[in-house]
Structure formats: structure tokens, C-alpha cells
């Protein structure tokens, strides 16, 4: 049981240390150390004040979930589950022992329980996260196991109650996509200003002949960073696409460490960032082709569009390849630019207003990554979230 009612993340972990809970996770956390502004993956995220802040420590009540159309998690507590989904609450979840992110271990150590979902048949699951508490530290983990030969889709959405502000949500997934299984994980995350900071630290293993499609859509004026460690076994296939539209003073980003461990493993990574106002975009993608991953292929590309006319928008892109084998195909690239003046003029010369012309070009830039989603309803929800972010951004001429 949590005995601390208020404190920083470190205070919370200290209190657990005395309870000798999750000592392995705490040891890993100690080894990596508390992230600061010089920690590579958080360098541009201003993590220090977030971790130094004292929060209300939320107690996780015992709730029996009701039956519902989708999985609903309120402040880290499952309140609704479809009857067809196998969901249990575990007290000692497994974790990866070689994750690069200290907060992955902090999240494991600080989460009293873990939401475990086992997918045993082809299914589409929606997971809706709702944050209702203000100035709170909310930590929870989700373990998702997609069994052999099963084809699943997880659609993840987020909602902040209007009164919920200033909380830190430290959550994350541990995902196993077993042999010959496929998982499409679509995350539609809109965070508006003054809402909560969200840190997601994830670990994904894609087993032999399995496939993972990671489609993330992060829009809005609030800050969030997702960190992924992804391991690809033999003939594993990863498609990872990330669309970010950051506005106001948001810092939004994705940090990925993808390891090709097995032969013939394949990864394609595409990231597009639209950065407006004084926002910051972060794309830090490391792809490692291990010695045993002969005949693998990888392609990585990040493109960013800075919209702020006064130079307030920032993009930090760091595509990296580490190669430890000779036989492979690999390419990577990164570019940062602005809206094309010639294109804007061409549209305007046909009577289209500057605001509409810019919107058309921004949508054109983003649309390719939206088209990867096949579900029409989800596309509509993503487009609506994109519109909200676009309309809330400043309309500089």
C-alpha cells in the first residue's frame, strides 16, 4: 500500500524501498539514475522540473470493472472491460532487464499492480485512458500478450477531464507479439495546454515471423514523450509511423531503440512532425542491427515542418543506425523545412485564402501517415483530433 500522500517520484520510490517492493526494478533505476536535462533521451524535454515537482500520490482503489464496449482506465484503474477480453490485475509483472530508460523501471517500481491483457483470438480492442485528478502522480503499467497466430488491433485514446491539470502520468506497455501473430497498435493522443504531462515508457518484443504496426498520432498543446525499446526476432516485421502536431509550448516526441536481433528481420520507420508556435518536436530513433541479424532490412525517415513564422518552433531529429553485421539493407534520412512559399502562392492565385492554403499543405504533409489506418471510424477520429490541434494553433500569416 502506498503510505505517502504527497511527494516527488523519487520520494515515492524511496517509500517503496523501505517496503522492499520491486527491488529488482529499483536496482535498475538506480543503475541508470534519475533522468536530468543531460540525459540523452530527455535532453530536449525539460524533464528536471517535471520530476522535481511534488505531486499528490494517487491511491489505486480496488474496483471491480464493469462490462463495457471498450477497456476504460481512469487514473490508472480499470473500470470497464468487454466480456470478450481476458484482463487480469497482476501484482508482480515481468519487466525487461535491458531497457535504456530509467523511467521504465521507475514506472514498474512505482506501479503497485499491472493490467495484464492476453489476446487469444483475432480481435480489435479499444483502450481509453481518462485522467481526472489534478496535480497527481499516476503510475500504471499494462502488459499485453498477443498469442501465437493471433491478429489483433489495439486502438488507444486519451481524455483529460476539464478540471484535471498538472498531473504526471507515468505509464507504459510491455508487449509480446508471439510467433506468427500480428499487432496493430494505434495511439490517438490529444493533449491540450495546462493538462497533464504524459510519459510513456514501453517495451515490445516481436517474435519470429510476427509483425507489429505501431501507428502513433500525437496532437495538441500539452507535453508528452514516448520511449520504446523494441526487439525484433527472426523474420519479424515492424512498421513504425509517428505523426506529431505540436502547438503552443508543447514538447512532443518519440524516442525509439529498435534492435534487429534475428535474421531477415525488417523495420520501416517514418516520422512526420508539424511544429507550430513555440513547440518542440523530438524524434530520436536508434536502429541497431545486431551481429546475428544477417539479411535484415531497415528504412528510417523523419521529416519535420516548422510553421512558426517567428522561429519559435524547434525540432530535434536524431536518426541513427548502428550496424554490427555485413549483410543487410539499410537507409535513413531526416529533413526539416517549412511550408513552400511557391505552393502557397499557387493555391492563393486560385482564390484560396492563406489560412485554407496552409491547412491544405499541412494536411497534405500529414495525410500519408493517416492513410495507413484502415478503419474509417478511427481515421475520422484522428482527423478530428488533427483539426482541433490545427485550429488551436496560432494562425500567423
Amino acid at each position: 500500500m502506498k503510505t505517502l500522500s504527497k511527494g516527488t517520484l523519487v520520494d515515492l520510490l524511496k517509500s517503496y524501498r523501505t517496503e522492499t517492493r520491486q527491488t529488482d526494478a529499483l536496482e535498475h533505476f538506480d543503475t541508470l539514475g534519475l533522468p536530468g536535462n543531460k540525459t540523452e533521451q530527455y535532453r530536449h524535454f525539460s524533464i528536471k522540473p517535471i520530476l522535481a515537482k511534488s505531486y499528490t500520490i494517487a491511491n489505486i482503489p480496488n474496483v471491480t470493472p464493469q462490462s463495457g464496449e471498450y477497456i476504460e482506465i481512469v487514473d490508472g484503474v480499470v473500470v470497464r472491460v468487454p466480456d470478450s477480453i481476458t484482463l487480469t490485475i497482476e501484482t508482480a509483472p515481468q519487466f525487461d532487464d535491458s531497457h535504456f530508460d530509467a523511467l521504465y523501471y521507475a514506472g514498474h517500481a512505482a506501479s503497485e499492480t499491472c493490467i495484464a491483457i492476453t489476446v487469444t483470438n483475432d480481435v480489435k480492442i479499444k483502450i481509453h485512458h481518462r485522467i481526472t485528478q489534478s496535480e497527481a502522480l499516476l503510475t500504471y503499467r499494462i502488459a499485453l500478450n498477443v498469442e501465437k497466430n493471433v491478429h489483433a488491433q489495439v486502438y488507444e485514446t486519451f481524455e483529460n477531464s476539464s478540471q484535471a491539470e498538472g498531473s504526471l502520468v507515468l505509464y507504459g506497455y510491455d508487449i509480446n507479439v508471439n510467433a506468427y501473430a500480428t499487432l496493430q497498435w494505434i495511439r490517438n493522443q490529444s493533449i491540450e495546454d495546462k493538462h497533464n504531462v504524459l510519459l510513456g515508457s514501453h517495451q515490445i518484443t516481436v517474435a519470429d515471423n510476427a509483425a507489429m504496426k505501431l501507428r502513433t498520432y500525437d496532437f495538441g498543446a500539452g507535453s508528452a514523450l514516448h520511449l520504446y525499446k523494441i526487439d525484433l526476432q527472426e523474420h519479424a516485421d515492424l512498421q513504425s509511423t509517428h505523426l506529431v502536431y505540436a502547438t503552443s509550448h508543447a514538447a512532443r516526441g518519440n524516442v525509439l531503440h529498435i534492435s534487429h536481433r534475428g535474421r531477415y528481420s525488417k523495420s520501416v520507420q517514418e516520422a512526420k512532425y508539424i511544429i507550430n508556435d513555440h513547440a518542440t518536436g523530438i524524434f530520436d530513433g536508434l536502429i541497431k542491427i545486431e551481429h546475428d541479424a544477417k539479411f535484415s532490412s531497415t528504412r528510417q525517415n523523419s521529416k519535420a515542418m516548422l510553421l512558426s513564422a517567428h522561429g519559435g518552433a524547434r525540432m530535434y531529429a536524431k536518426p541513427q543506425l548502428e550496424i554490427y553485421t555485413d549483410e543487410l539493407e539499410a537507409s535513413h534520412g531526416s529533413s526539416t523545412g517549412q511550408l513552400d512559399e511557391k505552393q502557397i502562392f499557387y493555391l492563393r492565385s486560385r482564390g484560396i485564402s492563406i489560412i485554407e492554403a496552409k491547412k491544405m499543405l499541412i494536411l497534405a504533409f500529414a495525410h500519408e501517415l493517416m492513410e495507413y489506418v484502415e478503419d474509417e471510424i478511427i481515421i475520422q477520429e484522428i482527423e478530428t483530433a488533427f483539426d482541433v490541434a490545427h485550429n488551436s494553433a496560432s494562425k500567423e500569416k
Binding site: 502562392f345 492563393r348 492565385s349 486560385r350 482564390g351 484560396i352 491544405m360 499543405l361 494536411l363 500519408e368
Partner: protein, 248 residues
């Protein structure tokens, strides 16, 4: 219809138009010819409000009012249209969506109801057929990967859909084979009317075989130095721009 008075304009600090005077009459086809660097394209850009062109003196009067303070989209909504010498490729923007947005912006400006997708596609089908364009072109990205001829036909398609009052054709004939040239010229002739004015900017007389001009203006060193009828084309073909020097 449109009157250019003593216009001085520069691009990146370089003076290009130097006191140009020109009156475009309603319902007439005006052709502007001139050597490279004489200011033909700068003139067309000045009329449509291109961001590169800075007008330093003079005025452009359209429908009785100066348009110099108007943005490019405002000028377009008032009926000024320029067919680009090199139409811009806009990957990701669907051609049909772009054209419907442009048409509905114009209709809204004119107080008309907007066309829905079905009504618009019906209108497009007729125009595509007349221009000999493939139907799938409207579902492709705007000018993206289009051949030179397809781009020019797409410009004419836009012109026919938007029905402007002043049409500037900036080297519409460049890069066209004879079939494409004929199709483009037919499109232009289709919308000729007593209410519509054309300004055809060209290096060569070939396009003028298909679009009969009422006036020929010769532009040299930023000024209109000679104006005449279609007979001026024959003189230019025979002797080149030295005919201007001979008479002046």
C-alpha cells in the same frame, strides 16, 4: 477592364518594369511579345500579386479600383487568373479537392451556394472530356508527376472551372506538342467572350495561330515600346525585335 499606369516594379532589388503603361480592353485578346529579360513574366506576376514582385511606383486599376493593396487570393476572387509558365506541383493535395475548394471560395465570394462533391464531379466530367484529359487526373495530387502537357491542360481546366474575367496566359505554349497545343487553344477559345479579356505572353507566334489576338504589344526593357495589330507578328517573325529599333 484593366489599366496599368506608369508601373515600376522590381524583384530582389533589381528594377524590371520601368514605367509600363498598358490598357487591356474588355473582350479583347492582347498578346505581349518581347525578348528574354524584357519583363513579360514580371508584368504578369505584378498583376496577380506575386510575392516576389515589389511595385515601387504606378498603379494597376481593375474594375475602376487599384488592386495593388489586394492579396493574391483577393485578386483571384475578383476574377484575375494567371496560367503559370511552370505550374507548381503540390504532392498530397488532391486535384479535385483543390479545384472544388477554389470554386466554392469564388462562389461564396459571389454570394452563390457551394457545390457539393457530386455536383462538382458532374461539372468536372464535362470539362475533362472537352480537354481530352484522363478522368483519373482529378484524383491525382495537384500537378504531381504530370507531364508538361498535362500540367498546361490542368491550368486550362482550372480556367474553365473558375470562369475568370481577366486571363493571363504566361507562355502557355511552352513545352507543348501540337496535339496538346490544339487542345489548350480550343479550351481558351471556348471561354472567349465579350466579357472576358486575355493577355497572352509568348515568345513565339505559334500559339497566335490558334488564339487570334486583337492587339500585339512589344515589351522591351520594362516598357511597352510598340503596339499594333496581328500584322506585327508577321513583321516580328520576319525581322525579329530589331523592327522596334528601326522605327524608334
Amino acid at each position: 477592364m484593366l489599366e496599368i499606369k506608369n508601373l515600376y516594379a522590381e524583384i530582389e532589388g533589381k528594377s524590371i518594369l520601368k514605367g509600363l503603361n498598358l490598357t487591356l480592353e474588355k473582350g479583347k485578346v492582347h498578346a505581349i511579345m518581347g525578348p528574354n529579360g524584357s519583363g513579360k513574366s514580371t508584368l504578369s506576376k505584378a498583376i496577380v500579386g506575386h510575392y516576389e514582385v515589389k511595385v515601387t511606383d504606378g498603379d494597376i486599376i481593375y474594375k475602376g479600383n487599384s488592386i495593388l493593396e489586394m492579396e493574391a487570393d483577393e485578386r483571384a476572387l475578383e476574377g484575375i487568373f494567371m496560367s503559370f509558365q511552370n505550374p507548381i506541383e503540390v504532392p498530397g493535395v488532391n486535384n479535385a479537392y483543390f479545384l472544388r475548394t477554389a470554386l466554392n471560395a469564388k462562389r461564396e465570394h459571389e454570394g452563390k451556394t457551394q457545390l457539393n462533391a457530386a455536383e462538382f464531379l458532374k461539372l468536372m466530367r464535362v470539362q475533362l472530356e472537352q480537354l481530352g484529359m484522363k478522368k483519373d487526373m482529378i484524383q491525382r495530387s495537384l500537378n504531381d508527376g504530370f507531364s508538361g502537357g498535362e500540367k498546361k491542360r490542368n491550368e486550362i481546366l482550372q480556367m474553365e472551372i473558375l470562369q475568370p474575367s481577366v486571363i493571363i496566359l504566361d507562355e502557355i505554349d511552352s513545352g507543348l506538342d501540337i496535339d496538346a497545343l490544339k487542345a489548350v487553344a480550343e479550351g481558351i477559345n471556348r471561354i472567349k467572350s465579350p466579357e472576358r479579356t486575355f493577355l497572352v505572353i509568348t515568345h513565339y507566334s505559334r500559339i497566335l495561330d490558334y488564339i487570334k489576338p486583337d492587339y500585339i504589344h512589344i515589351l522591351q526593357d520594362g516598357q511597352i515600346v510598340k503596339t499594333g495589330g496581328p500584322e506585327l507578328v508577321e513583321a516580328l517573325e520576319a525581322e525579329g525585335y530589331k523592327i522596334v529599333g528601326k522605327e524608334s
